[in-house]
Subunit: 529 residues, 2 copies
């Protein structure tokens, strides 16, 4: 057996255990009774330790060395590259640092739960200082290995191949037009009237409606499920993708669009190449590309006028609301494109969202590169919020730099974090990208480098749509209600590629060019102006 | 760290992985979409291999040797005994034999699915011959180690401490009165009229009713759930017990009593000593004792007139059937105690069930001890069915010795059987006793020695009830609807003991004597005559 083959077998073994981690994590979040949590956490921590051991077995070093001398096909070369990258990320950090960071992160997060309510920046900063310090050490070690800046080394955990140099260019561009665009749109929307559907919308009916939307989006129910959890996420494995939503019986709109978003993640997973199952090269490309798929579904498709026509018709039928103005397609469209400036990122709309991300990107970049201190963060936050969204967070830490809630606050987490594990916040989060929607990665536990993925996803989605429209009659497909041509394009160009290509290669092959924020700008202007 | 402590840590590690196996197994049976099965089976097989490796690590031999020299408390001594027994059972068989038996079992079972429909004994016998042969080899190896007969060595996998010598005495006794009793009861019931509830009983209402019954039986919903599966079972872990049922919208009665049966298994699991969690000594005592708890709930409590009063009231309320004679307590009682002679064990009622078990016991005992050949089975089956139930299975193999369906026939199994693993059908089935209800252990894959557990359970249950009544006002508790005193007795005498005592010790401490079938006979006569 060649060394490459040995590595393949080893990766498939790890994938089997990751499968069980994903299902146990879904169970913990979606169906496990509270009393089961302690024993479950222990069991999942045991599995984490095992997976870590497998990822860092000593013989792997030799195997990679030997495999690189072997004669490999192009696919095998890509596969080896992805396996090696995962291995390097798993082995590069000293165990002490991993453990210290894990402890500091847990301590910081635990106290933050109380401190945030009390707006207690000073208390928070005492713990957070250590998290930042240890994260800087991590970033430096990774940077030395990769030959990049410290921040870029962290970024590579989520967006391999993307540099802050290119992000700077992209985000600086966005900053030149976004604040003004937001103001113009809000001014325009001030004159519009919207009607919020009122009443009680039974969970069972909301669920039925969500399932209809998923069917419309060709979710494969033979390889996945819809369930409920406190914080919606997409989990499971490609052959069995578990998406969740939550229902607010007073709010029809939120859960429905949340389900559509998760369906985008799910179809990417379901569409990954089965011939590469169990190998890193068969997994989703990156956090940003994963988010591009959920946002393609939610923003590009889900909020398009044609799609909203279908959605409003489904909702009218489900709730027998044919004659209610709140359920009209026009009102649905207004509701789903309503723009508002706010403090909280996770509540932000499509248009203001990039401002939240760029703010965080700039701060975490400078923090990791040692250009600013943790002490500077609240003031910078306030300045940037004022500059990008015209809101002040002075002395308002809880809605400023302390806001970023771990969506998994409380007992339910998808990935066990209770064991020292350098995968924490890194490859496992890639592997469980699907966990990305659940775990709002934040600075509290030192997960620096993740935030750009959200806006990269939105931009890629817009670029994919523009490229798709060159060969696919998207509006026609949406109008006649058979989205197959759209999904064929996504499957051919994105899903079936797994991680065979780098992100830049993937985007270039699909659209003819690498990331270009002009498509995003164009999309926003067309939709909102 | 003492060697005993090392063994404890090792056992807890295995328990963590068993936890994940149990939850993944539940998921596979209860919620997994079909398309997820192949990857899941692989992942679970990987986990089986790992658990097997852990159970048979070479250093354990030394550790057991050393630990036996250490100064241990009585509880630790029991714990060591149980750990050692598990280890011995896991290591005793040569790997070749385990693999050969697993292959032969799979082959036999696979072909049986077709052969049973075709009543093809000759085809079946060709494969089964090998299963019997390999099982005899297994029994001999185990017997040599334990110093017992081959059959008793197999029995020890499910009912440690029980010998065929004592079973012979017990079952011979039953045979002297059961056939006659069955005839008398059928004659008596012929004169009664019963009304089968007719109509469509919505799943949601059946589920609500089942949940009410579970609440009445004080199932701890903080440590467990009720779900649906094709074949009802009790799975999960003691801190998170998953029971399942299935609903037939044309049949109200079956699912309800099935839920009560599984609730008995579940409360045993939920009541196991938390201080011994993760150790073999903290697990359920045996298959027979586990079945005694489900049958205590189903037969001793569930079919008692007082309980049926509550049940019929709950059903009347749920289905708004106050005035329907089919829903009267008297009719419910008649329905739930209806006796009928039939070919199929899993469909048998309380009274005829032991006949099915004794027949199988006698055949498997003689088969394992080499006193009969596999070829003799159909004729013996026919003879014994005629003798015990007055039914002939001559040339009717599919309802005779080929009947024993794997309840997991089809894609959904609780425990992955796809890997050679000497735990298969043995300790895993103890650990996942809860799997016992799902997997109708049968001869097709060489699981000889399991059948007596069913009737032992029924007998223990009757004996426990008789003992309980000496100190607990069972009828009063049932009448006033607070069953706490009943559960306190079960918890004190059975559940909280885990595997600290041997079965005989457990039963003697609880009831003042070891197994005595007189209580079972008395119970049946009182209920049915």
């Amino acid at each position: 057996m060649s060394h490459y083959q040995k590595l393949v077998q080893h990766a498939q073994k790890i994938a089997n255990f990751n499968h069980l981690a994903a299902i146990s994590g879904w169970d913990q979040a979606a169906v496990m009774p509270n009393g089961g949590n302690e024993a479950r956490s222990k069991a999942m921590a045991e599995l984490s330790v095992l997976i870590h051991q497998l990822n860092t077995e000593p013989q792997l070093s030799d195997w990679f060395h030997e495999a690189e001398q072997e004669s490999l096909s192009p696919i095998e070369k890509s596969s080896l590259r992805e396996m090696k990258q995962r291995w390097q990320q798993a082995t590069i950090l000293p165990k002490d640092l991993v453990e210290a960071k894990s402890l500091a992160g847990s301590k910081c997060e635990h106290a933050w739960r109380t401190q945030r309510k009390q707006n207690d920046w000073n208390g928070y900063a005492q713990n957070w200082q250590e998290v930042v310090n240890l994260s800087q050490q991590e970033a430096q070690i990774r940077a030395d290995s990769l030959g990049t800046t410290p921040y870029d080394a962290m970024l590579a955990l989520y967006e391999p191949g993307t540099s802050s140099q290119s992000l700077d260019v992209v985000f600086e561009n966005v900053k030149t037009w976004l604040p003004n665009l937001v103001d113009r749109v809000i001014e325009k929307q001030d004159k519009e009237s919207v009607i919020y559907p009122k009443g009680t919308f039974a969970r069972s009916q909301q669920k039925a409606l969500g399932l209809k939307a998923m069917q419309f989006l060709q979710f494969d129910f033979n390889h996945g499920r819809l369930d409920e959890s406190v914080h919606p996420f997409c989990g499971g494995v490609p052959t069995d993708v578990r998406i969740t939503t939550r229902y607010d019986e007073n709010d029809l709109m939120q859960s429905l669009m949340g389900t559509i978003h998760e369906t985008g993640h799910a179809r990417y997973e379901q569409g990954l190449p089965t011939s590469l199952a169990g190998l890193p090269v068969g997994e989703a490309r990156s956090m940003g590309i994963h988010e591009s798929q959920s946002l393609f579904f939610e923003m590009q498709l889900g909020r398009s006028p044609e799609f909203i026509n279908h959605l409003s018709a489904m909702a009218r039928a489900e709730f027998q609301a044919e004659d209610q103005p709140a359920f009209s397609a026009d009102n649905f469209r207004k509701l789903y494109t309503r723009v508002e400036k706010g403090f909280i990122r996770v509540d932000a709309d499509e248009l203001t969202y990039p401002a939240h991300v760029i703010l965080r990107y700039e701060i975490e970049r400078d923090l990791m590169n040692g250009n600013i201190s943790y002490k500077d963060v609240p003031e910078l936050w306030d300045q940037k919020m004022q500059s990008y969204l015209g809101l002040s967070t002075k002395d308002n830490y809880q809605n400023g730099c302390m806001q970023d809630i771990h969506w998994t606050d409380g007992k339910r987490i998808l990935i066990s974090n209770s064991q020292p594990n350098e995968n924490k916040g890194k490859r496992l989060k890639k592997h469980n990208y699907r966990g990305g929607c659940m775990q709002d990665i934040h600075w509290c536990d030192g997960s620096f480098g993740y935030f750009p993925s959200y806006t990269l996803g939105a931009m890629y989605a817009a670029q994919f749509m523009a490229a798709m429209k060159k060969t696919v009659d998207v509006d026609g497909a949406l109008r006649n209600g058979d989205l197959t041509p759209i999904f064929t394009w996504l499957s051919d160009n994105i899903w079936s590629k797994g991680s065979l290509l780098t992100t830049d290669e993937l985007v270039k092959q699909a659209t003819g060019e690498i990331l270009n924020p002009a498509y995003f700008k164009q999309h926003l202007k067309e939709r909102y102006l």
